[in-house]
Amino acid sequence: MNKELVGASTGLLVLGILARSASYGYEIVKRLNAEAEGLFLWQEGTLYPVLHKLEKAGLVRTQWQDADTGRRRKYYYITAEGREALTERTEEWNAFNQMVLRLGEVRNG
């Protein structure tokens, strides 16, 4: 899949994952990969700049928690603002998707 397309929607994908339940970095990647079903492959480290950007924007909040392995894990929770942003961006995506499909039909039809 086109890298720029994936890059532009990374924040939206992460918010979508966190809207289901709070999670930490490694688990977020696992869940995204499971959802992607081989459509794209993550450079896992690049998730963190996205997460930190969302945190700075107030769309997610974080909390350190002790894991059963004895280490600490930083959990990410979606905020109310994050949910609003997710709704807005999903609507934007839908509108954009509709437009692309319409134009594709015209070209192919």
């Binding site: 990647v29 480290g45 700049p49 004895g70 894990r73 930083k74």
Partner: protein
């Protein structure tokens, strides 16, 4: 602690994460989060169906994680504006530093002329003028880069606590001191002698605009170092033009405005300074590119060896 990961591998993971430092007070927390991710991934490989050695699993983790230098850049982009220092203040600091450094080099050049009078000839003049301009640019850039890194690490350098007006005052005094006794007069060359009001205005605009443009360029480079060779080369070219403008604008403007045609002597001087500055800028840019490629190559070689 997770018993499946040995302390040796854990140290390797932590060493890898330290490379992703963003020179920030959140470094420890960010590194803990990243190393936690890597340990989770490592444990997942070790629990998998394929029989992987611990070392093999670590190589896979590093490969999947991506280039630490690229990640460092992305994280720095996110965390760079923590200090909230205004652009006006940073510009004033850059301007004061540039002027101060230039004053130091001018004094050093005068001392050199006393010791070595042969430098007063034509060739010596153009060489020393260009050396002062380039040395000022390089020294100021290094100083400002250090200042920016301190700022990004959460420290507020003394200069950045001063008011812009105070710094502008210092820069103005230093500029005035230099303009009262221009360096070119020492060599008997055609310096920025104020032949008419138009020449004076144009010279002053060039002399002020050029260092300011250089300051903007440096601040931008410190904030977001260029990642493409084309950008770096373009910046180096603009930088060289700034140096040329600062060094030669006065000498070039005077005959151009008064008689319509600059003398061949002035054109030769001017072009020599421009060529010298451009060569220095491109050389610096080339060294930067080589160092960056070498660092990437070493990282790749290190991964391949393992």
């Amino acid at each position: 602690m997770d018993d499946r990961v040995s302390s040796e591998t854990r140290k390797q993971i932590q060493a890898l994460c330290r490379k992703i430092s963003v020179a920030h007070h959140l470094d420890a927390e960010i590194q803990e989060e990243l190393s936690g991710h890597m340990e989770d991934k490592l444990a997942a490989y070790l629990d998998g169906e394929e029989a992987l050695s611990e070392q093999d699993a670590f190589i896979l983790v590093r490969e999947h994680f991506g280039d630490p230098a690229a990640l460092k850049g992305l994280l720095q982009d996110v965390h760079v504006h923590e200090a909230h220092v205004s652009l006006a203040r940073r510009l004033a600091v850059a301007f004061a530093v540039t002027t101060g450094v230039h004053a130091v080099f001018v004094v050093a050049a005068r001392a050199l002329l006393h010791v070595w009078p042969a430098l007063r000839g034509f060739g010596g003049f153009q060489a020393l003028l260009a050396v002062i301009a380039v040395a000022t640019a390089v020294a100021s850039w290094l100083f400002l880069l250090r200042l920016q890194r301190g700022l990004a690490a959460g420290r507020t350098p003394w200069l950045l606590t001063r008011r812009p007006a105070y710094l502008a005052g210092i820069a103005a005094v230093l500029s005035l001191m230099q303009s009262l006794a221009p360096i070119s007069a020492e060599f008997g060359a055609s310096g920025p002698v104020m032949g008419s009001m138009l020449v004076w205005r144009l010279t002053m605009v060039a002399m002020v605009a050029s260092p300011l443009l250089q300051c903007v360029l440096w601040l931008w480079w410190c904030d977001r170092p260029p990642r493409r060779v084309r950008t770096a080369v373009t910046v180096a070219g603009v930088w060289a033009l700034c140096i040329w403008l600062t060094s030669c604008a006065g000498a070039f403007l005077r005959p151009g405005v008064l008689s319509g045609v600059p003398s061949p002597h002035v054109i030769a001087q001017s072009l020599a300074v421009l060529a010298y500055a451009l060569a220095c800028a491109l050389a610096a840019c080339g060294l930067y590119a080589v160092a960056r490629c070498a660092a990437t190559g070493l990282a790749r070689a290190s991964i391949a060896r393992r």
